[in-house]
């Protein structure tokens, strides 16, 4: 069965979605990713959706789910490279993905995760309040 690769980069997991995401694949990704977070003890998850041009309410929900699940396992989720059309669609669908951090590209997403790691180490009380 087709699967989306999950790469481990230091303390973080990197997922690059390069194909059109259908429902079954998205559900598999959700499960695989949570397993990987558990196995590797990752502190952050970075999902690159720059190649994703179409999104529906189900996909929005999956992304929200992944973020929610990772955060209770102490890993932050950053979604990077969202296309304007995708962003507008999600907003029109009423899915502002409020628990998810976002960044313009992978580079900035990594920097964001790094900076959150530093603040997390310095002061554990400044947890994610978004």
């Amino acid at each position: 069965m087709e699967r989306i690769p999950i790469l481990k980069m230091g303390k973080f997991l990197l997922v690059t979605i390069q194909v059109d995401l259908y429902d079954r694949l998205a559900l598999n990704l959700e499960e695989d990713l949570i397993q990987m977070v558990f196995k590797t003890g990752a502190k952050g998850v970075l999902i690159d959706i720059s190649a994703l041009s179409i999104v529906d309410s189900f996909m929005g929900k999956i992304i929200g789910n992944i973020a929610g699940m990772s955060s209770i396992m102490d890993a932050e989720t950053v979604v990077v490279g969202m296309q304007p059309a995708v962003a507008i669609t999600l907003i029109e669908l009423g899915l502002p993905l409020s628990g998810v951090h976002t960044a313009l590209n992978v580079e900035k997403g990594m920097a964001l995760l790094e900076s959150r790691m530093i603040t997390g180490q310095e002061d554990d009380t400044t947890a994610d309040d978004d």
């Binding site: 304007p84 962003a87 507008i88 999600l90 907003i91 502002p96 976002t102 960044a103 900035k108």
Partner: protein, 288 residues
Amino acid sequence: MERDIIDLLRSKKDQVLTLWLQAQDSDTEASSNFNTHDELQAQSSEFVDLLFGSITEHNIQDFTSWELEALTDYVSSLTISRARQGFSPRETATYIFTLKDALLKVLSEQIESDPVKLYHASIQISKFIDNIGILSFETFITGREDIISQQSDEMAELSTPVIRVWNGILAMPIIGTLDSARTQVVMENLLQGIVDTGSSIAILDISGVPAVDSLVAQHLIKTVNATRLMGAECIISGIRPEIAQTVVHLGIDLSQMITKATLESALKYAFNTLQLEVRRVQKEKVNG
């Protein structure tokens, strides 16, 4: 209508034209026109020629007939040119309807003896000229609507520029009311601007928005959320005192958004976020 009546009118073409021109001269409204008398005469003469050239006993009943295309085209172009010259639609309509008076007058002179025939012929001529009048009005309104839609397109284009204020900072001043259609344009332009320039901060300046109601606020919140999904931060600036008052009175919650009173303070905030600093440089250092 019987053929002989049309032939009869056709033979009296010159008389119709003369009567028509006389009526126009006596008409106080039309006499304030911008045409010279010769121009008006040429125009009217062409009109009458076309009318008698295309009208038959069949198509007088059927205004959509293709045989009348030349006449309808002429009426449309006449209306447009008169509208450009500054004639009101009433003046153009009066111009067309005085032709009816002329036609009916000639007709009544010619077939005085047969009232029934005169009655039927008058009704048909009236209907025909009324149709020309309606066509003229339609042309006028269509022309106007074209101009309106063209202008609103231009306005939408003009009022949503994306300005790159600094490396990584975009600004978008919004002028005019934000409705759903404009919000869509604003959002698309802003998000595309963010992708194109790789900016991480967008400033939405609403000092040009006359009023903020719950709908406009909802549109603003949508735009801010969409920007956040893209991975950039959106600052709303240019909140005037009246806007702050209405927003609070309406009970709209803007607390999740970063709002600043002026573009200046928004820019300061943006510099701060990007860890930039604006300093006054000592003059000696510049010269040296």
